[in-house]
Amino acid sequence: MSYSSKLLQEAVAALSMLPGIGKKSALRLSLYLIAERQEDVLREFIAPIAKMISDIKFCQICHNLADGEICSICVERSHKSNTICVVESIRDVMAIEDTDQYQGLYHVLGGVISPLDGIAVEHLNIESLVKRVEGHNIQEVIMAVSPTIEGETTIYYLSKRLQPLGVRVTLLARGISFGGELEYADGLTLGRSIVTRVPYEISEL
């Protein structure tokens, strides 16, 4: 498509870099923004997005998204919960929060161990988890990680690291898809599986 304005062309190109936005939608959004009053656009769209990009942080405790150094979940629940739910991504935290069935803490790993993809133990938020459990009277760690080969590898490795600390390690009740795809599991099933979690056992070989 040819544009009479290079400014428009550049805005369309920028918007279509967003996931799920094609050239056509990008053009429609651009034309909509032009039709709005200039100061409204700046105040209602541009400012919040710019502020999010410049100000958002990762929680220093659980690596979830936060406005300050510590996220709102850690601030509100740290003194009243001694359970940590380990997840792969921030989206998993949101999916579990949506179920309203869990009032404990989280720990976002940032992925699963997969050396073939260049992700080794040191690339994940594992040391910070071990330190957290060591220092904060944590009673239970729930592994809400996908049941793939790489997920199982991660669960085993974490359990071995946590074993000397005497903390209880549990898994979500199986039979649903979770971890990475946690947000796609229906809320009811996910909520139930976090309530009826089962102990993780390492059989001696």
């Binding site: 997969s114 050396p115 073939l116 080794a120 080969i149 590898t153 490795y157 071995k160």
Partner: protein
């Protein structure tokens, strides 16, 4: 299971080809490089979802084309019909369909259209590395035991992850490596047990076939060579742990298994004569045929590439005898010329169909 129709699009050197096959014997003849082996490989692909020659899917696409597509129409003894489609586009992912439904896991396909391929590279079964002999076991067991297939696929994934882990810098600690070992051990247990039973039986089967085709009464035997023989599997893994970390590659596992082949108690590859080796190769291939028919309850499709070069004298007579025994499945064989096949089959009163192929194209079929 009988392959009734085969359609190829842009597969290796074949541009477009469609072929109707018959139950029993089908002879495909033409010069070297005409595309005979590629045709058999396409049939193999329909059964196992990959090339017999371990070629990547892009390498199966005809030069300067963008995709390949192979279609097979099968019919079973009870007159049910099945369509299998395997297609692949450059940069895309290979797709397999069974009766117009997408096959997501290759295990849904394996064993449905059992096949045995006797190819020119066969001699590697005796002289090649352990990999060729492991492939023989895997091909057979994967087609008739889905538990084996699933364990092997999971094991191979773990092995690749472990290998990548061992090669990373900084070097992994013991726990990082043990994490993989822990998951591999139960799989090794399953695979080892099944391979062990298979190789035991293989020995007896090969001996039987060999005795039928050999002039002398030499005794052929097999032995399962494995790091885990009579050992605690976990202990074997533990013993090599530190060495694996320092050498930076896996040293333990079923990827190091092998089958040792003996004649009169001596290693075949050192002491077998040419005639004995030919008989052994025939016996090993036919053992695959034997296992698949026995455990699946139906005859696999037998693909014999350049059969005349490999089967002469007693071996050829033994094959003909097998073919004459009813009920027999389907055999698709290739040769450089028709006349000698014609002579053999006509002398034995065995019906057959013949197809001429040249430069990747089917010339007129004759019966």
């Amino acid at each position: 299971m009988i392959l009734r129709e085969l359609e190829l699009d842009c597969f290796k050197n074949i541009h477009r080809l469609s072929l109707s096959l018959r139950p029993g014997i089908n002879v495909i003849y033409g010069d070297n490089g005409a595309g005979k082996t590629n045709l058999l490989d396409a049939i193999y692909l329909l059964s196992l979802g990959k090339s017999h020659f371990h070629l990547a899917d892009n390498a199966l696409i005809r030069d300067e084309e963008e995709f390949y597509r192979v279609v097979g129409h099968y019919s079973s003894g009870d007159d049910k019909t099945y369509d299998v489609v395997v297609k692949h586009q450059r940069q895309g992912k290979k797709q397999i369909e069974l009766n117009r439904k997408k096959v997501n896991r290759v295990k849904e396909l394996l064993g449905r259209f059992p096949v045995v391929f006797v190819a020119p590279d066969d001699i590697s079964l005796v002289f090649g590395g352990g990999r060729d002999r492991r492939n023989l076991i895997n091909r057979t067991l994967c087609q008739c035991d889905s538990d084996y297939l699933v364990s092997l696929m999971k094991y191979n994934r773990l092995l690749r992850q472990k290998d990548a882990m061992l090669k990373k810098w900084p070097k992994p600690d013991r726990l990082e490596v043990e994490t993989y070992n822990y998951q591999m051990i139960p799989l090794v247990e399953t695979i080892h047990l099944k391979r062990s039973a298979y190789i035991d039986e293989l020995g007896a089967v090969i001996r039987g076939i060999y005795a039928d085709i050999s002039d002398d009464d030499e005794c052929v035997s097999t032995e399962y060579k494995s790091q885990f023989a009579l050992r605690n599997i976990a202990e074997v893994f533990r013993e090599q742990l530190d060495a694996e970390i320092s050498i930076q590659r896996p040293l333990v596992g079923i990827q190091r298994d092998d089958i040792l082949l003996y004649i009169e108690g001596k290693l075949f590859k050192k002491f077998g004569s040419q005639g004995q080796i030919k008989s052994l190769l025939y016996s090993m291939r036919m053992s695959e045929y034997h296992f698949l028919s026995k455990s699946l309850g139906e005859k696999p499709i037998l693909l014999l590439d350049d059969y005349f070069e490999k089967l002469d004298g007693k071996r050829l007579s033994a094959l003909l005898l097998l073919i004459q025994q009813a009920p027999f499945g389907q055999v698709i064989l290739t040769d450089t010329e028709l006349s000698r096949s014609q002579k053999i089959f006509e002398r034995h009163g065995i019906p057959y169909a013949a197809y001429a192929i040249d430069k990747g194209e089917l010339l007129t079929a004759k019966k």
